[in-house]
């Protein structure tokens, strides 16, 4: 028999409950939310849309989870999405046949992203800058770089095969979700089947202590920022392919916040230490389901920001030890009085 009590103690339990509650809400209040249809040989429906739209955030959240585990933060990922989308679009060009082979264009975009991540990583690991300020530099400059790359124009793509990445389907499911699955699988294997995950966590819990035990904290830090930028670069390619255009100004705008939210919702603490990759994925699904639910209700999408704000506050209150003890006190006192 499945041990249920052990499962409730797992970190992923509460994010799953939150997702479940959201789904339950939709089951009762949003008509046809769970309806799945098969059209043109693949699945259609709200659930599929959620997975498809969540894919870029999920990719970014995989990278960010590792960064946050080292007690860092990477707020430049949204700008890296814009840069990566800009590079891939420039390489492919607006013709119906690509200027460069797709593989070359994608490779170049990923390379540029990794370089951007190396820059972040150098600032944090070698110059000892605070992660938030180190990545702030690229957040501010990155969008400028993306706009300069694309000559401040929106580039439209007409090379259809490229659309497969963001719009295509494979075995009935959106193609982008397979990219997420592959990256997630590789990341899980590398961090959980080797000691690397433990190293990352120990750097996040106590960097000095980690260094004294012989862990090369500097290179671990450099590595996680490069990986985060790589993941953001992949998200940029997916975003570019979904809309078949690159808009340096708006591509990936605000994504860094959604991705950070996804990681925090998934149970990884901003104070570093233990990280939960699957939790982050559930977090990304929660964020996307929330947005889709709000859309389904016909509320202007902008107002969804208020709901997200409320969720952020609730989640951080739950993570606050002070709040929990206050809550318990109130609860405990009442119990005593009764």
């Amino acid at each position: 028999m499945v041990d249920l009590t052990a499962f409730t103690k797992k970190k992923i339990f509460w994010p799953l409950v939150a997702l479940g509650v959201l789904m339950l809400f939709n089951l009762f209040f949003t008509p046809n939310f769970f309806r799945l249809e098969i059209k043109d040989g693949h699945l259609y429906g709200n659930l599929i849309d959620i997975i498809k739209n969540a894919a870029p955030i999920m990719l970014m959240a995989i990278g960010l989870t590792l960064v946050i585990a080292t007690k860092g933060i990477d707020i430049s990922v949204g700008s890296i999405v814009a840069i990566s989308a800009g590079v891939v679009a420039m390489m492919i060009g607006s013709g119906t046949t690509p200027q460069f082979p797709f593989a070359v264009a994608i490779g170049a975009a990923l390379l540029v992203s990794v370089l951007a991540g190396a820059w972040n990583g150098m600032l944090v690991s070698r110059l000892g800058m605070q992660p938030i300020i180190a990545t702030l530099i690229l957040l501010v400059a990155g969008r400028g770089i993306a706009m300069v790359t694309t000559n401040a124009m929106i580039i439209w793509l007409y090379a259809r095969p490229f659309a497969i990445i963001g719009q295509g389907y494979f075995l009935g499911l959106p193609f982008s979700i397979y990219i997420v699955a592959v990256l997630l699988f590789i990341t899980t294997v590398v961090t959980r089947r080797t000691a690397l995950g433990l190293f990352i966590e120990s750097v996040g819990i106590n960097r000095t202590a980690a260094r004294f035990t012989g862990i090369n904290a500097k290179n671990i830090l450099l590595g996680v920022y490069m990986f985060s930028a790589f993941a953001a670069g992949m998200a940029g390619i997916v975003v570019c392919s979904t809309v078949m255009s690159a808009d340096g100004n708006n591509a990936g705008d605000g994504y860094e916040m959604s991705a950070i939210l996804a990681v925090v919702l998934g149970g990884t603490s901003l104070n570093g230490g233990k990280f939960y990759l699957y939790g982050s994925m559930v977090g990304a699904l929660i964020v996307q389901t929330l947005t889709t639910t709000i859309y389904a209700f016909g509320v202007p999408p902008e107002i969804s920001k208020i709901v997200i704000a409320a969720v952020v506050i609730c989640v951080s209150l739950l993570q606050s030890r002070k709040f929990r003890s206050l809550f318990m006190q109130m609860f405990g006192k009442r119990a005593v009085q009764e």
Binding site: I132, A141, P300, I306, I313, L317, Q319, R321
Partner: protein, 330 residues
């Protein structure tokens, strides 16, 4: 006779910022015809008065070791509230201004209260504030609301002569905010406490300083400044729009950093921030005068400057650290 110029090491980054501004403005004057004029200098203040006000509030937050990501959205909310109350609710301007400022301060009060009481990272709570204020803008209206109120139009059009040149009332407000900020940070108990909290919050608490009250006040002040900046912004644009001030929090943070305030808290000052804003404005004019580069180079230049200043500070810090080691080795 020996003439020795000694600079307090604390002021080095301030001098660097001032020097940077002088070099950039001077360079522009040499290379571009018509760059050097009093009006061009005053335009720096006219075009960036709202940013200056935002940056004053942000300086207090950053000196205390915190961060406020919500200011751009609060600015937008303030423009929306002003235009809505004036045009749709037909309030008197003299009721609108205090109301908007009060709501702004209350917004910051709530954030500060949550941050302090529940010991939560300012980054996350002000991020929630960012979303909340932006969402509230859309609740008021999705469209632009134009302002036709005569008082507002007057404030937008009045030119206060300065020799052959002029400034706008917004500049007077901004400079007043800077002076008030300077006074508060240097000559009041609250100002001292802000520095102490940034230096070491725990020590500040042990010293018996009112940390709780001050922290809440810092965020109230920052949001108050953002609301005021929003009003000044509407003097500039004569409209309220929910997308106003997008990413402006990053500009404010960048100018504060360029002004020499340490993001780790405890070190910095408003004078540096003023020059940070001037540097920011000069980069923008330089790119306009240069003509061929597109405006997005501003962001790259600002990012680069933030990098240079952070680098400068970390080098400076590590040198100081080494000195202390030497002293203790003796």
């Amino acid at each position: 006779m020996k003439l020795k110029i000694s600079i307090n090491p604390k002021n080095i980054s301030l001098f660097v910022t001032i020097a940077l501004f002088v070099i950039m403005f001077g360079g522009g004057s040499i290379f571009f015809y018509g760059f050097f004029s009093l009006q061009n200098f005053l335009n720096l203040f006219i075009d960036n008065s709202y940013l200056l006000i935002l940056a004053v509030g942000m300086t207090f937050v950053i000196i205390s070791g915190g961060i406020d990501l919500s200011v751009g959205s609060v600015l937008a909310l303030s423009t929306m509230m002003s235009s809505f109350l004036l045009e749709k609710a037909h309030w008197s301007p003299f009721a609108v201004i205090p109301m908007v400022l009060l709501i702004g301060a209350l917004f910051g009060f709530c954030m500060g209260y949550i941050i302090h009481t529940f010991e939560l990272p300012p980054f996350i709570i002000t991020l929630a504030g960012l979303y909340l204020a932006r969402g509230l803008c859309y609740v008021i209206s999705i469209d632009t609301i134009g302002i036709t109120d005569p008082f507002w139009k007057g404030a937008a059009n009045i030119k206060i002569p300065m020799g052959n040149s002029f400034i706008s009332p917004s500049v007077v407000i901004a400079l007043f905010v800077v002076l008030a900020g300077l006074f508060v940070s240097r000559s009041t108990k609250f100002g001292r406490t802000v520095f102490a909290i940034g230096g070491n919050e725990h020590s500040a608490m042990l010293m018996g300083l009112p940390v709780a009250r001050s922290k809440i006040m810092i965020y109230s002040l920052s949001s108050f400044c953002a609301a005021l900046a929003g009003i000044v912004f509407t003097f500039y644009t004569l409209s309220g729009y929910a997308l106003n001030g997008k990413n402006m929090e990053m500009d404010a943070i960048a100018t504060v950093v360029i002004g020499g305030t340490l993001l780790t808290g405890g070190v910095g000052g408003l004078l540096g921030t003023v020059f940070g804003v001037l540097v920011y404005g000069t980069i923008q004019i330089l790119i306009v005068f240069q003509g061929t580069l597109n405006g997005w180079w501003t962001r790259i230049a600002i990012g680069f400057l933030v990098f240079v200043f952070c680098l400068l500070q970390s080098v400076f810090e590590s040198r100081q650290g080494r000195k202390q080691v030497k002293i203790s080795a003796k």
